[in-house]
C-alpha cells in the first residue's frame, strides 16, 4: 500500500542533514498575499499584499479586530482559500503548488469549529485525526497518552467528546490538532467562548507545548490577554494589511509608558509649569475645585514626581498608575478596538 506525500514523517529515516536543511527553512513564508471576495462595488479586500515570515519554533500572534483578515490569511496559508496573488510556503514547500506535501507539516484549529467528532471518544478522535494527518496511530499512541496527560484529559480518554464540558471539548480539539504531530499549527481563536479559568488553563498549556515540543504556533485572536501571554511576536492586522509586526516587549515600549494620574485641589498654574518642565505631562483637566494631571512616569520618575508634589505642599486627593497594555498599542496603530469598533470615530 502506498502512503501520502510526507515531509516531517520521513525524519525517522532521514539524515540529520535533511532535518537541519528543513529546519533552516522558515516554518511559514507568505509573500505578497492578497485575497478579494466578490466583485465590483461590493468587492471586499480581505487580505491586502501581506508578507510574513515565521521561523521554526516561534509563537506568533495574529491580532486584529473582527474582519481584519486574520481567518482569511490563515485559510490562505492552509490552502483552504486560494489567494488571488502571492504565495505561501510551509517549511519550504509551496502550499499553492503542492497542497498535499505541505499538509504533512501543518494542521489547524479553526474558529468556532468542533474540529473533531463528538460521538467518538477523546482517544478515538486522536487516533482518527493522526491517521488523517498521515501518521500511523499506533506509532504515536504513547505521544497521545502524554498529550492527554498534559491537557488533563487522561481520565476522559475513553469518554465521548459530546459528554465533556465546553472547556474540555476545546482542549480535545487542540489535542486532536496536535495528534498528527504537525510542526506548524494554526490556532484561530482557541479560547473563544471559554470561561476565564478554562481560557487560563489553555493559555498555560499552549505556552508549555510551544516551549517543550518546539512547535511553531500561529495564534489568531482578538483577545489581547491570550496573545500577550502566549506569543513571542505579534502581527497586527487591520483592513487586511499588517500595521505592526514586532515582539510584545518592543510593541509595548512604543506605547505610553506608565502613566501617573494625580488629582488634587492644590495644583495651580505655577506647579503645572514646574511639572511640565521636569516631566512629560500628557493631559490636564480642571473641573470643579480639583485638577487632574496625567504624567508619564516610568520607573524611578515616580519618586521624583512625588517629591515635586511634596515640595509644593500638595494634598493629593487621589493617585493612580496605569500600565501600558497591548490594547493601547493596538488602538494607537489601528484606531480600532479589538472588537472592531472605530476608536477614533467613537471619540468624536
Amino acid at each position: 500500500m502506498g502512503s501520502p506525500p510526507t515531509t516531517h514523517r520521513e525524519t525517522a529515516a532521514a539524515t540529520d542533514d535533511t532535518a537541519t536543511a528543513r529546519r533552516s527553512e522558515p516554518a511559514l513564508d507568505i509573500e505578497h498575499l492578497s485575497k478579494r471576495f466578490g466583485s465590483g462595488d461590493s468587492a471586499v479586500v480581505a487580505v491586502d499584499d501581506v508578507s510574513l515570515t515565521v521561523d521554526a519554533g516561534a509563537v506568533v500572534g495574529l491580532l486584529g479586530p473582527n474582519g481584519a483578515g486574520k481567518t482569511t490569511l490563515i485559510k490562505c496559508a492552509l490552502g483552504i482559500v486560494t489567494p488571488d496573488t502571492g504565495s505561501v510556503s510551509v517549511f519550504g514547500t509551496a502550499v499553492t503548488d503542492d497542497h498535499r506535501a505541505a499538509y504533512a507539516d501543518v494542521d489547524a484549529m479553526l474558529e468556532g469549529a468542533r474540529n473533531d467528532y463528538w460521538r467518538l471518544t477523546v482517544r478515538e478522535n486522536l487516533r482518527y485525526f493522526a491517521t488523517i494527518h498521515g501518521v500511523a496511530p499506533d506509532s504515536v499512541a504513547t505521544r497521545h497518552a502524554r498529550l492527554l496527560d498534559r491537557l488533563n484529559l487522561a481520565e476522559k480518554a475513553d469518554t465521548p467528546v459530546r459528554d465533556l464540558s465546553r472547556g474540555m471539548k476545546q482542549k480535545v480539539s487542540l489535542a486532536s490538532v496536535l495528534a498528527g504531530g504537525a510542526d506548524l499549527v494554526f490556532l484561530d481563536e482557541p479560547t473563544l467562548g471559554l470561561d476565564v479559568e478554562s481560557s487560563r488553563t489553555l493559555r498555560r498549556e499552549l505556552r508549555r507545548l510551544a516551549r517543550e515540543e518546539g512547535l511553531t504556533i500561529v495564534l489568531s485572536s482578538h483577545d489581547m490577554a491570550v496573545i500577550e501571554a502566549v506569543c513571542d511576536r505579534v502581527v497586527m492586522l487591520a483592513d487586511g494589511r499588517i500595521v505592526a509586526d514586532d515582539t510584545v516587549a518592543a510593541l509595548l515600549s512604543t506605547a505610553d509608558r506608565d502613566v501617573l494620574r494625580v488629582v488634587s485641589p492644590d495644583i495651580d498654574a505655577a506647579l503645572l509649569d514646574t511639572l511640565r518642565t521636569r516631566f512629560e505631562v500628557n493631559a490636564v483637566e480642571t473641573g470643579g475645585e480639583t485638577t487632574r494631571v496625567d504624567i508619564v512616569a516610568p520607573g524611578d520618575t515616580l519618586y521624583a514626581v512625588m517629591e515635586t508634589l511634596r515640595a509644593a505642599d500638595v494634598t493629593v486627593e487621589s493617585l493612580r498608575t496605569r500600565q501600558p497594555a497591548l490594547e493601547d498599542v493596538f488602538v494607537d496603530r489601528t484606531g480600532m478596538t479589538p472588537d472592531g469598533d472605530d476608536e477614533r470615530r467613537r471619540s468624536l
Binding site: T6, A113, R114, A136, E212
Partner: protein, 297 residues
C-alpha cells in the same frame, strides 16, 4: 482496530518515551529506559482502516440511527406490499420477487447516495471538513474512502431489510453472496458517483443539498428502466445493474454466467459515473477554494 497493544491509560503509556527529545526530558527514569518510538507514516491501508472503523463505531454505538432507517424503509415496503395487494391482488403477488429485488437495490442506492452527499454537509457543519481537506492523502481519496465506508454500512442495513421482506412476503430468492454483492456493488457505484457530484455542488452551494436529496426518488425510474425495449437506458446509472440483479436473484443466474459484454458494461457504467462524479467533486472543491467558501456554512 489497533495493531499494537494500546496503553489503557496515560499511566500505562508512561512506560515508554514519546517521539521527541523534549518528552524524554520531562520523563521519569522509567520512561527514559524505554525505547523511543518514531511516528511512522500512515499508508492508505491505515486510512481505509481508520475511516471504516469510525463508521463501525458510529454504527454500533448509535444503533438508533441505523434501526430508524431500517424501520422507515420497511414501513414503506409494507405500505407498498399490503396496499398493492389490496389494489392489484394476485398481479402484485406474481411480481413480488421483482419488487423485492428492486426495493433492495433502491434502499442500497438511497443509502449510498444520501450518505455521501449528507456526510459532506455534516462535515461542513461540524467543522471537520477542513481537517479532511488539509490531509496529506488529499481530500478526494479520503472522501472516496468515506463513501466506500458508507456503502459497506448501507449493505448491512439493506441486507436486514431484504431478509425481513423475504420473511414477510414468504418469498424465496437466489442469494449467491458473491454474485449479489458484486452486481449490487457495481450498480450502486454509479450512484456513489452521483453522490460525489451532489456533494461537490453542496460544498459550493450549501443550501442546495436538501434539494439534491430529492434525486433519490428518481432512482425508482432508473431501477425500473425498460432496458429491453430501450437498450440505451443501460447507459444510465442503476438501469443495467438492476436488470442483471433481477436475473441473478430471481432467475438464479450466477456471476460468471453473465456474458462478457454484460459484465463489461456494468463495470464501465460504474466506473464512468464514479469518475465523472469524482471530477465534478474535484472541480467544485477547487472552485470553492477560489471563492473562499470551502468549509463555510
Amino acid at each position: 482496530m489497533s495493531d499494537d497493544p494500546e496503553p489503557a491509560t496515560a499511566a500505562d503509556a508512561a512506560g515508554s518515551a514519546g517521539r521527541s527529545s523534549t518528552l524524554t526530558d520531562a520523563a521519569t527514569p522509567t520512561e527514559t529506559d524505554a525505547a523511543p518510538s518514531e511516528p511512522r507514516p500512515a499508508t492508505y491501508y491505515h486510512l481505509a482502516k481508520a475511516v471504516l472503523y469510525r463508521e463501525y463505531l458510529l454504527f454500533v454505538r448509535y444503533p438508533a440511527n441505523a434501526i430508524g432507517g431500517i424501520i422507515v424503509a420497511l414501513f414503506f415496503f409494507g405500505v407498498l406490499f399490503y396496499g398493492g395487494r389490496l389494489v392489484a391482488g394476485r398481479a402484485l403477488t406474481d411480481s413480488i420477487e421483482g419488487i423485492i429485488v428492486g426495493y433492495f437495490l433502491w434502499t442500497l442506492s438511497v443509502g449510498a447516495y444520501s450518505s455521501v452527499s449528507n456526510d459532506l454537509g455534516s462535515e461542513v457543519q461540524w467543522g471537520t471538513l477542513e481537517r479532511h481537506i488539509t490531509t496529506p492523502f488529499g481530500f478526494a481519496p479520503v472522501a472516496l474512502l468515506k463513501g466506500v465506508a458508507k456503502v459497506v454500512r448501507t449493505f448491512l442495513t439493506s441486507a436486514v431489510i431484504l431478509a425481513v421482506m423475504l420473511v414477510v412476503t414468504d418469498t424465496q430468492l437466489s442469494l449467491q453472496p458473491i454474485t449479489v454483492v458484486v452486481i449490487a456493488g457495481l450498480s450502486i457505484t454509479s450512484v456513489l458517483g452521483l453522490g460525489f457530484a451532489a456533494g461537490g455542488v453542496t460544498v459550493l452551494y450549501k443550501r442546495i443539498g436538501n434539494w439534491l436529496n430529492l434525486l433519490q426518488f428518481g432512482f425508482v425510474v432508473l431501477i425500473s428502466a425498460p432496458v429491453l425495449d430501450a437498450p440505451w437506458t443501460r447507459l444510465l446509472p442503476l438501469a443495467h445493474g438492476s436488470a442483471l440483479l433481477q436475473r441473478a436473484m430471481v432467475d438464479g443466474t450466477g456471476l460468471w454466467a453473465f456474458g462478457f459484454v454484460d459484465l463489461g458494461l456494468l463495470v464501465a457504467v460504474a466506473g464512468g459515473y464514479l469518475a465523472g462524479g469524482y471530477l465534478v467533486f474535484h472541480y467544485a472543491t477547487r472552485r470553492a477554494r477560489r471563492l473562499g467558501v470551502l468549509g463555510d456554512y
